[in-house]
């Protein structure tokens, strides 16, 4: 069946499709946020484009699964033993920011204002979901702080109850080390107005006020 034969097909009857097409639809449908209709649309697209483009997608998926692993130091995503941040000599090695997931690290990197190192916990302590401190990279973090030369550790966990709880647990574990422990500021967003801020945000802003 030629790829062009799929263009504009209104609805797919799974029984009429070849086994390969059905499999591709099922695989796409497993992706987060992709339902059956979207999976069919993506499959049409793959069938429509040239072999080179379609196989480039397959190769990219294979490469990412074969080459990408966690950095042996900070647990960020890396293509070798160390990630690009840990192996960058220009980073400030006295500053360490702790984040929950690699995507939080990416968000902070996109802000472009932090030049220190990171430590990725690969989750947060969520006892109700059965996630305890042992399932995260906290022991590696403590060892890193013990043997490293950090002057400040920044808690960059999400400002949720579980994120704050994780930060509190870690700060207790690091309490005996000669490092300053700080956390990200919270409160009113720049450009907003006080009138529409909810009382909890205002309370956070007042509690975290700083010298002018």
């Amino acid at each position: 069946m030629s790829p062009s034969g799929w263009c504009g097909s209104p609805a797919l009857d799974m029984a009429q499709l070849s086994e390969s097409v059905t499999r591709l639809i099922e695989e796409f449908a497993k992706l987060p946020g992709i339902g059956k209709k979207s999976a069919e649309r993506l499959t049409y697209h793959v069938l429509r484009v040239g072999s080179h483009e379609a196989l480039a997608l397959a190769d990219a998926i294979r490469d990412v699964k074969q080459n990408v692993r966690h950095c042996s130091v900070c647990f960020n995503l890396a293509e070798g033993e160390l990630c690009s941040i840990c192996s960058d000599p220009r980073r400030d090695r006295g500053l360490l920011c702790i984040v929950e997931q690699p995507r939080d690290l990416m968000a902070l990197e996109q802000a472009g204002s932090f030049k220190g190192l990171y430590h990725v916990l690969l989750g947060r302590i969520a006892p109700l979901e059965g996630v305890g401190p042992d399932q995260l990279t906290i022991d590696a973090l403590v060892e890193r702080v013990r043997t490293g030369e950090f002057r400040e550790v920044i808690m960059g966990t999400n400002p949720t109850l579980e994120g704050d709880g994780t930060a509190l647990y870690i700060s207790n574990r690091l309490a005996d080390f000669p490092v300053e422990i700080t956390r990200l500021a919270r409160g009113i967003t720049s450009g907003s107005v006080l009138e529409f801020a909810n009382k909890e945000i205002l309370a956070d802003a007042l509690a975290g006020r700083q010298k002018f």
């Binding site: 006892p127 109700l128 949720t160 704050d164």
Partner: protein
Amino acid sequence: MSTEKSLALVLRLVDFSETSVIATLFTRDFGKIHGLAKGARRLKGPFESALDLLCLSRLVFLRKSSDALDLLTEAKLERRFRAAARDLSRLYAGYYVAELLDELTDDGDPHPELFDFACETLAALDTGPQPVSSVLMSFELSALRVLGHLPLLDQCVECGTEMNGSGRVAFGMLAGGVLCARCRPGKPKVVSLSGAAWQMLRDYAQSDEKRPSGEPDRRAYGEVRGVLNQYLSHLLGRRPRMHEYLGVLAS
């Protein structure tokens, strides 16, 4: 499909997609519900920061048919549980309250009295000077009382004989309360309590303000804790998850 409003405590959050979550909430007027909150993780939106664990929020939601998830359309934050900023044991105690509410209540079965007491308990854990052990024991026994699971403490669960607490008192896990000397023989899973521990159980099980709030006597507390832990594990069919994290729940 009708729009409903209620005060609600957030008991559990499960990621559904990049920005949406499925929330389990204990509402004051509709009991426990499960709802989809689309875009809940966005900074700007109808939920702002009102859907975090143990937040007390004013909720608007669309009720769906019996099997489907409700659709949460708006939530306004009333009070945030802030114990995570200072004390892990108070944070874990808050999680324990959420665990008990989730496990002991049924979907769509409202208990306004329990809801109010859960809010008071979280406020006490958050700000009050009361010891965690005392606050949690009050909550556990109040939850059991409101939900009809409170063991019979004043009279023998088998024959109705009034108990006076002189000497040791037998507590039957399976019987669901205390047993007199005549009814005790042959009963499985019976533990023996001192008179002080039995009295402590009765004091904390009271519904009014006579309930103690100070640091409980250490020895009697250990006995009561042992009984309560076993009783709750029996009721839930497993050991509560937070028992592993909370030293004050150790018997």
